[in-house]
Subunit: 365 residues, 2 copies
Amino acid sequence: TKKKLLLLPGDGIGPEVMAEVERVLAWLNQSGRAQFEYETDLVGGCAYDAHGEAISDAAMDKAHAADAVILGAVGGPKWANVPYAKRPEAGLLRLRKDMKLFANLRPAICYPALTEASSLKREVVEGLDLMIVRELTGGVYFGEPKEIVTLESGERRAVDSQLYYEHEIDRIARVAFELARARGKRLASVEKHNVMRTGVLWKSVVTRVHEDYKDIELTHVLADNCAMQLVKWPKQFDTIVTDNLFGDVLSDLAAMSTGSLGMLPSASLGAKDANGRRPALYEPVHGSAPDIAGKGIANPIATIGSLGMALRYSFDLGKEADLVDAAIAGVLAKGLRTPDIMQDGMTKVGTVEMGEAIVGELKRL
Amino acid sequence: TKKKLLLLPGDGIGPEVMAEVERVLAWLNQSGRAQFEYETDLVGGCAYDAHGEAISDAAMDKAHAADAVILGAVGGPKWANVPYAKRPEAGLLRLRKDMKLFANLRPAICYPALTEASSLKREVVEGLDLMIVRELTGGVYFGEPKEIVTLESGERRAVDSQLYYEHEIDRIARVAFELARARGKRLASVEKHNVMRTGVLWKSVVTRVHEDYKDIELTHVLADNCAMQLVKWPKQFDTIVTDNLFGDVLSDLAAMSTGSLGMLPSASLGAKDANGRRPALYEPVHGSAPDIAGKGIANPIATIGSLGMALRYSFDLGKEADLVDAAIAGVLAKGLRTPDIMQDGMTKVGTVEMGEAIVGELKRL
Ligand SMILES: CC(C)[C@H](C(=O)O)[C@@H](O)C(=O)O
Ligand SMILES: CC(C)[C@H](C(=O)O)[C@@H](O)C(=O)O
């Protein structure tokens, strides 16, 4: 039976980079390595323009029916003044919440060819390979109350609720311990227990789950200190687990440190159901980059890499995922660079050329 | 009349670095440049050991009565298991809240002598001089409800409330615009309005206050993007204003980037009363460093620099504050280094030697 994907290109450079994902899918199908069928739909500002909502119910139905969703990016200044509930990000947040994608895996890898692109010193980032596991359906993103109220005095007051249940922390901790076990066997749990009650609960639940993973070395790191340590010596970390908001900030920080921001994929996973099926969404770490949209110069590697993660985590196609990674490494070794990663002496290419070159490598490998 | 200080050395290396502040105070008094009198009291773990509270009511009374408070640092593993309300940090948080110190000024400066100490490339940090203005008495630090409850099912749930009133955002924005006006005339307001209602309110209030500061260039930056940009090219910022939690993480990140973490002071200020009196607390950005406490090797420069900020912001002694800054630059130029900032070819000194050398410079200047 065919594997079913939903592609949601979204806004800005999303459609351009997603076209290159389609190119790789065509190769997978033609080479007989796998049989994918896919639909596409709208999410973000483009969905608002079409339907008045950042994602339609019909698109949500397709997302639930698919074996995996690949997303480009959402947002842009064009939608700065749409109502809050309809802003582009609301589409992405609804996908995460309704699909119950509680585990966000964000690898921060320094590609050898790009070591010099980092603002950090070479020795600080060379060989960096860390995994940030971010809780994605709880915390301040979704807790209620979440509102702006006008008081009798006429003054406004806003509130967001940072809220965690024990079971939410338990399940994300288990995902992180499992990943750490397959990696360097070290896990740093990041919260702010000296100020936040959610941090106290977080630390206590992760400590209890650790009982089931005695082979993993667990440390507890305060979020502010973690930000510092990620700048000072990121290689001290192997796997990091943290909440939705700290994960948002720290994973972006780590991604930028690698110098490979335009290269980094991510996976957002739910729990396996009784049939072993697991809801999943894959997207690049970078945003919609409205300033370069439509110019044909966006880097498609992070989105193609996200398809690679889908092959690995949703379709058990580890060999094909390795091929995708090898093809990306191959084109970089050949000196091909989109403008965001351009270096002296390299060959500047656009989005399409980069996608074609990656498929070219795949055919050769 | 004498100026009244309260010194709260706190835990870990706090007492060691505070002793060097006393040395500088002695010089100020003896040289006739100012007349300070001071008391000392306990805060943090040492206060808990003595009184069962992280700060006593008597110490709070002294803090309210003083013209300014200088604090060392609080916390350490020794107090990992004390009840939440009595943990060392609670003393610091009570000082901030009860003294109404809503504006936390955290300069992030790259000292020329220490450019190489940064993990960021020389060209990225050389000459860096930015000011982070952090809201300090609101947000998730103090919002209610803030609790862990056990549900009927036996499961625990934790909540912290990220809460902001319009007037809280208004007053911190004004402090930041004023500072920006005296600096590079550029202000970046940092929040997460795409996910948080407090971010929406924050952005709208800062935009309104901007009407009164049309000479300042205002930009709005999402917190995750700000973390990235602080790593990529921190010099793009001049003054940053943000909430309590983002300010905690981003200011630590910026401080570490400069390579000068052990060197950076901070000021926490309240509003001026009818008599022009303003509550104020000054403290180093670094923590209590329990691993090196009692060894006589801690760097006292950040705490002496905090006294320098007190001279400037609380006592209108700008000339004396400049002298303190010049004395610090002077000892660095002479090659004196505590171990945290030691470099090849420099002279390693301890806490006391560093303090003595700074006073020596002050006498010469
Ligand atoms: C677009 C935005 C809602 C999103 C988030 O804050 O989670 C993004 O920053 C991310 O990290 O995926
Ligand atoms: C010690 C702790 C409570 C404090 C904070 O989180 O504000 C510290 O990290 C700081 O930045 O001053």
